[in-house]
């Protein structure tokens, strides 16, 4: 029959995995489905809220107060994550000590505990008049019940772990030999940290800070209990308001669906622009922490 005298075809491999364009298509379908899911609520919000609605929301004093409070409180909580979270991440990454596993579990705890419980726990300790911790925070001027300090406290609690975990991983990834070289070249411990370790870990830390910030602004569970309304006091001296999340929740509860969608869309835009700015800053090298990867 055939020219080669009917020789048997070469044995086929036992298993055939998809290759080439089929493999690519599979990846695209799987990854694309998830991206689509992410897009659904966002598209829904923007379709429900007309542009004029977003504009009016931006012009509304009450909405602006809620947005201002949220950005302000989340800013303070990110600052707290920088001041307290980065050192904790460094400690966990570079020092061996007894009970490290326990500390690491405690750091992960806020991520897994339902946030209503966080609010309730903080309320029980810090917001019931007469208890010792309550009297203490009153005395030092940090009342938490329905104040900006309460908002910050809840936000730090739920968001700082992301900074701690990201810093720990980033510090671990810094080659210890590079730091030792710096020491040998004449840098003391703190100098080597500031000039070598921190710059090399910065990119991961910033990613953690962004996550922390995102987690902080989206918090609602703990706030519903500890700081449902926020009265002027401390660094906040605007009108009585609440965070954006609580504000939107209130609108929804009152049946103002269009307003809820408008405020949500507005806040989404603000968050998106902030994220985009950081990413672009990295890409262009204007923010310093990817130098050496991108440049000549």
């Amino acid at each position: 029959m055939s020219a080669d005298g009917g020789r048997a075809p070469p044995p086929s491999p036992r298993r055939r995995w998809p290759t080439g364009s089929l493999w690519l298509a599979l990846q695209l379908v799987l990854a694309g489905s998830l991206v689509l899911l992410f897009l659904v609520p966002i598209v829904a919000l923007f379709t429900y809220a007309p542009l004029s609605g977003i504009y009016y929301a931006a012009d509304n004093a009450a909405v602006r107060a809620a947005i201002w409070l949220t950005l302000f409180a989340s800013g303070i909580s990110v600052l707290a994550a920088v001041v307290f979270g980065i050192p904790l991440g460094y400690l966990l990454a570079r020092r061996a000590f007894r009970g490290r596993a326990v500390v690491e579990s405690f750091v992960a705890l806020p991520v897994v505990v339902p946030h209503l419980l966080v609010g309730l726990g903080l309320f029980l300790v810090l917001a019931i008049p007469g208890t010792l911790p309550y009297r203490f925070i009153q005395a030092i001027g940090f009342p938490v019940y329905d104040t900006i300090w309460g908002v910050v406290l809840v936000m730090v609690f739920v968001s700082a772990p992301y900074t701690v975990l990201a810093s720990e991983l980033s510090f671990q990834a810094v080659d210890a030999r590079v730091v030792e070289a710096a020491r040998s070249l004449g840098a003391g411990g703190a100098t080597a940290f500031l000039t070598v370790t921190l710059p090399l870990a910065l990119r991961g830390i910033v990613a953690g800070l962004l996550l922390s910030w995102a987690r902080a602004v989206s918090e609602i569970g703990g706030l519903l209990i500890l700081a449902y309304a926020v009265y002027p006091g401390g660094p906040y001296n605007g009108p009585v308001t609440s965070t954006v999340s609580v504000y939107i929740y209130n609108l929804f509860q009152n049946g103002d669906l269009a307003d809820a969608a408008s405020v949500s869309s507005l806040f989404l835009l603000i968050a998106f622009v902030l994220f985009l700015a950081v990413r672009l800053g990295e890409r262009t090298g204007w923010l310093p922490w990817r130098r050496g990867e991108l440049a000549p």
Partner: protein, 346 residues
């Protein structure tokens, strides 16, 4: 330039114990720390550099014990494995780093000088990720010198270098000794490379100093089979192998010349030298040409013996399985584990 002395230095790291180690690092000398992986080479370097605290002994810089000084005060240029360059700084930025730490003066003249000296000027604005292995080595060395060290300590300098870059590095290390008059300590697992630059050796194994001295003495009388193989002897036989031999055979003959640990034999040549002993018959197992002539492996009295045909090789490659006759000069057989009997000539 400083004269460094390491005096009975010991370090404990988890369950690993290093030492005691004694070193004399005079200006302009190069010392190689040799050993296989896990021998304690890097532990010794990190102790010298101040990243591990010694548990005993002293590190003296011109007579001053710096063993408790922090790394930044030792005046020691430590180049770790992988070089430890700063990936977020350019070539010039790497070299500028130690200068900025030490003085408030304008660092640019010194940076320019070092860039020119190590032929790095065209690469000054590049980041390390974009350099070749040889270029990275030069940056590491320029940066170490920018700190004005009193001793250069380099962990595996030849790692991941191609042949040309290795050759070039050898020249640079020589220059360091002769022009800067710095003592240099290099760590390597490759004796051939170490022989190319070092005046003295320390062979470590399991944290212990097995052998120490100049290259000649190390080659003349290796202390045991491990050191003998390590320094490049092809034919190394332990006593246990030799005692099994029958009378009249090669093994029994070697046993009469061996020390307590066995014997090391430099490659006998083909055709046999006049001074070589009776003559043994070996069955050819392999033969391959190389820059140093022809290497022929034969089996004789159940021992594998490597022979050498020095260049120019005019004879054809011996066929596998054929028999060749070779001789061993009894004076060339190095007893292992014996006191160095030939050193004094007594």
């Amino acid at each position: 330039m400083s004269h460094w002395t390491v005096d009975a230095l010991e370090t404990d790291l988890d369950r690993f114990h290093l030492g005691p180690v004694d070193l004399d690092l005079a200006p302009g000398t190069a010392t190689a720390i040799l050993g296989t992986s896990g021998a304690g080479k890097t532990t010794l370097l990190r102790t010298l550099a101040g990243f591990l605290a010694p548990s005993a002994g002293r590190i003296l810089r011109d007579g001053v014990d710096v063993g408790r000084y922090p790394p930044e005060e030792r005046r020691l240029g430590y180049v770790p494995q992988g070089l430890g360059l700063f990936p977020h700084r350019t070539v010039a930025g790497n070299i500028r780093y130690p200068i900025e730490l030490r003085t408030r003066d304008d660092p640019r003249p010194r940076v320019r000088e070092l860039l020119a000296r190590f032929r790095l000027a065209p690469l000054a604005d590049r980041y390390p990720a974009r350099l070749s292995g040889g270029e990275l080595q030069r940056v590491a060395l320029a940066r170490a010198l920018a700190a004005d060290p009193e001793l250069i300590v380099w962990d595996e300098p030849w790692q991941a270098l191609d042949v040309l870059a290795r050759y070039e590095l050898g020249l640079v290390l020589h220059e360091l000794r002769e022009e800067e008059h710095l003592p240099v300590v290099v760590v390597t697992h490759d004796p051939a490379l170490a022989f190319s630059i070092a005046d003295s050796f320390v062979v470590l194994r399991g944290g212990r100093v097995l052998e120490q001295g100049d290259p000649a003495s190390l080659l003349r009388a290796p202390s045991d089979a491990f050191v003998a193989r390590f320094v490049g002897f092809d034919n190394v036989y332990e006593t246990a192998e030799l005692v099994a031999g029958a009378a009249g055979g090669l093994r029994a003959w070697l046993l009469t010349l061996a020390g307590p640990e066995g014997a090391a034999v430099p490659c006998p040549t083909l055709p046999p030298a006049a001074s070589a002993s009776p003559g043994w018959d070996g069955k050819v197992r392999s033969a391959r040409p190389g820059p140093e002539g022809l290497r022929v492996e034969v089996v004789c009295d159940e021992l594998l013996v490597t022979l050498r045909v020095p260049p120019p090789v005019t004879t054809p490659l011996p066929a596998l399985g054929t028999r060749v006759r070779f001789g061993i000069d009894p004076a060339s057989v190095q007893p292992l584990g014996a006191p160095r009997r030939r050193e004094g000539g007594s």
